[in-house]
């Protein structure tokens, strides 16, 4: 078993061979991957050393101390957090070797073609079709809410391959080439004025069978790996006090005494306490993960942060008074990075409205908590034994 001392030795070797100050960023990241220090819990040859996941922090700390380029996990969130673990779990050896390295170095960006206009919270109702023709699949359909589609090289895609069975059973999971001429990406402008997401139209796109992940018809099971990893991703974060949305509003409060009112003071303190409790809960979850005992708290953290972000940013707009009536810039942009706190209070207020929708709506996640954590009866299911083609749409 690779231990912390061994990892530190390997990290020191990497730093000696590729001094961060004089090494090209991508070259360094490639070398880091090849040394097995990208994600230490991955297998050897695939960026890891089969070490315990908790030891990644040791490597990251030593690299950060030397100013080595960090591969910002937010920039490749979908690739790192969702595509990679799915490829690792279900990909062939050839697929793993082809995709994981450029994914991790950020040379190839990934996006996720899951949601559709008619299949959001009820994702398994999706209608994008994939029809087999020899060694290829011909895909037609429309996807939506696709972040990074405009810069992505690859996509993880789920499509319906058998409409004659109930909806969860006839889905297959593919890797889609975003440079295929049948893939059309259109920006989808949002309430913030930005087009952070896209609509993706898929017309007669031919995907070779060698880019299928998992068995035909097993796509829902494979997608669960992707979605579970999406929700686990938050657990690794270590936030300082006032590290989230409460930070900017606290700063404004301290620096601008002329804006203070008694009503806002009461609300600010209440939210400050709730934000601190949520931060401690995330830290407790992280400590549980480190000792290998993940708790069910993760299911709730997204709910907590979504509500807090919305209430805190709403408070800040009010606190700013006349300035709160203004907005920094309505110019349509297509950001590569989602930045929740980097712009002004109005932007944060509008963007946070998405926090209770993206990655599972608050309403659906509350059902999941009630059923899976508390064991309450599940919602009535009228679609369970009905072929997808016979469902009302």
């Amino acid at each position: 078993m690779t231990d912390a001392a061994e990892l530190r030795r390997r990290t020191a070797e990497l730093l000696a061979a590729y001094p961060p100050a004089t090494t090209d960023r991508v070259d360094f990241l490639r070398a880091r991957f090849d040394a097995g220090l990208a994600w230490v819990h991955y297998p050897e040859g695939l960026g890891g050393l089969g070490a315990p996941r908790s030891l990644q922090a040791v490597v990251d700390a030593d690299l950060e101390a030397e100013g080595a380029p960090d591969n910002d996990p937010r920039r490749i969130g979908i690739g790192l957090g969702m595509a990679a673990p799915t490829i690792l779990a279900y990909g062939t050896q050839e697929q793993k070797r082809r995709y994981l390295r450029p994914l991790w170095t950020g040379e190839e960006v990934w996006c996720q073609l899951f949601s559709e206009p008619g299949a959001g919270s009820d994702l398994a109702a999706l209608g994008t079709r994939a029809v087999r023709e020899g060694d290829e699949w011909v895909v037609n359909g429309q996807k939506v809410w696709t972040s990074s589609a405009h810069i992505a090289r690859w996509a993880i895609l789920i499509a319906r391959t058998d409409p004659d069975v109930p909806k969860h059973r006839g889905i297959t999971y593919f890797i889609c080439d975003m440079t295929d001429p049948g893939v059309e990406v259109r920006p989808l402008r949002q309430v913030t004025g930005e087009a952070e997401f896209n609509e993706v139209f898929i017309t007669d796109v031919r995907i070779p069978d060698s880019r299928r992940l998992g068995e035909v018809g097993d796509g829902w099971k494979v997608a669960q790996t992707t979605l579970n990893n999406e929700r686990v991703a938050i657990g690794g974060m270590r936030l300082p006090r006032e590290g989230g949305m409460i930070g900017p509003v606290s700063k404004t409060w301290r620096e601008r005494p002329e804006l203070r009112t008694h009503d806002l003071h009461q609300r600010l303190l209440k939210l400050w306490v709730e934000a601190e409790a949520a931060r401690l809960t995330a830290e407790r979850l992280r400590q549980q993960l480190v000792v290998g005992q993940p708790g069910p708290e993760g299911a709730g953290m997204k709910l907590a942060f979504a509500r807090l972000n919305q209430e805190i940013s709403g408070l800040e707009v009010e606190l700013r008074g006349e300035e709160g009536l203004l907005y920094d810039d309505w110019t349509m942009r297509r950001p590569e990075l989602v930045d929740f706190v980097g712009r002004d209070a109005g932007y944060r207020y509008l963007r946070s409205k998405g926090n209770s929708i993206e990655g599972g709506t608050t309403e659906v996640l509350l059902n999941i908590v009630a059923e899976r954590v508390l064991g309450l009866p599940s919602e009535p299911r009228t679609d369970k034994d009905v072929a997808w083609k016979d469902l009302a749409r």
Binding site: W253, H262, E276, A277, L374, P377
Partner: protein, 358 residues
């Protein structure tokens, strides 16, 4: 960073306390007891204090205690909260003990640690650390005055009484007139204490001792509130899986599922905040004042919300005297005032983290 998990030893302690309470502190028994003239369960206290040594958790071994920390005391309080146990653990083994640990009176500390005596700090239960508290008159070597809102004074052997000369005095309870007050919380009743020329033994300065005692009381009360809230959620979920209306379990209705999931989330957050306070007190962290204020500002609304939801979701049965949920509601509401309201702790935070009032 503070350790927010439970150690194996703490889980073992929890299991032992829970087993004992399961055998000796069932809800029907607590209800019967609070209807009598003697709401406190002295037999149970003897088992906890004498049998398990819990009264001396916070006292160092060389002073006759267990040499444990606030982390273990917090785990005990979670379990006592789950059972709304009518015993003076918080008042005697935490608050009075902390006051004595501030200095002097090793003999009395050992008495409290062993459970031979029950001690109570004679400060009204609603006061937070740092606030002004009522004192009695010290005149010609004797104490004179009247104090109200003193929790668990009815079973106290000794009272720790602050006087107007700035001192904290030990007074034998038999030298005072202790009159039970009709209390909202039936399981932690208050009493009025009248001193009419009672003799007291000077322990030391009252101010630092009272401050230390009330801060520990507030910080660890959050764990009692956690246990209480956890019980109400568990019991409500259990009931709603069984109770049928409109030909299906009530717990299957989405409106109720969402309320219970929301409650679960609040309790998960409370657990982190309560653990953080217990750990900060245990390690004497510089952050202890903030940790205690956060835990208390967060805990009270959650515990009250949990108990109120439990009553509502039990429907008619929840409104009856025979169902124990009222004991939890009364304790939760009283706890929301004990050792300072959430608002008082938020006001303290405003100073501590530099978010000043207008």
């Amino acid at each position: 960073m503070t350790d927010l998990l439970y150690s194996e030893e703490e889980e073992a302690l929890r299991a032992a306390v829970r087993d004992l309470l399961a055998d000796h502190c069932d809800a029907a028994g607590v209800i019967a007891r609070v209807e009598s003239d003697a709401p406190h369960d002295r037999e149970l206290w003897k088992l906890l204090a004498d049998g398990m040594g819990l009264a001396g958790l916070l006292v160092p071994e060389e002073q006759g205690g267990q040499g444990a920390t606030h982390r273990e005391a917090a785990v005990v309080l979670e379990e006592l909260g789950r059972a709304v146990a009518p015993v003076p653990f918080l008042t005697s083994a935490v608050v009075a003990t902390e006051a004595l640990l501030a200095g002097g009176a090793d003999d009395l500390l050992a008495d409290l640690a062993s459970g031979r005596k029950i001690g109570v700090l004679a400060v009204a239960l609603n006061l937070p650390a740092g606030s002004a508290y009522k004192v009695v008159r010290f005149e010609d070597g004797a104490l004179h005055g009247e104090l109200t809102g003193i929790a668990d004074a009815a079973v106290a052997d000794v009272l720790l009484v602050p006087a107007d000369d700035g001192g904290l005095y030990v007074v034998d309870a038999s030298a005072a007139t202790v009159t039970p007050q009709v209390s909202l919380d039936l399981t932690r009743p208050l009493a009025e204490v009248v001193l009419d020329g009672a003799r007291g033994r000077l322990l030391g300065d009252a101010e630092p001792a009272v401050r230390r005692a009330l801060r520990a009381g507030a910080g660890l009360l959050a764990s009692e509130q956690l246990g209480l809230a956890d019980w109400t959620l568990t019991e409500t979920v259990r009931y709603l899986k069984e109770r049928k209306q409109f030909n299906r379990p009530v717990g299957g209705f989405q409106a109720l599922k969402h309320r219970l999931a929301q409650l679960w989330l609040e309790i998960v957050n409370l657990r982190a905040a309560a653990r953080n306070a217990a750990d900060a007190l245990a390690t004497g962290s510089d952050d202890a004042d903030v940790a205690v204020a956060v835990a208390q500002a967060f805990a009270a609304p959650v515990a009250v919300h949990a108990a109120e939801e439990a009553l509502q979701l039990h429907g008619g049965i929840g409104m009856t005297w025979e169902h124990p949920v009222h004991l939890y509601l009364k304790r939760a509401k009283a706890d929301s005032i004990a050792y300072g309201t959430a608002g008082a702790h938020r006001a303290a935070l405003a100073e501590l983290v530099d978010l000043r009032a207008p």
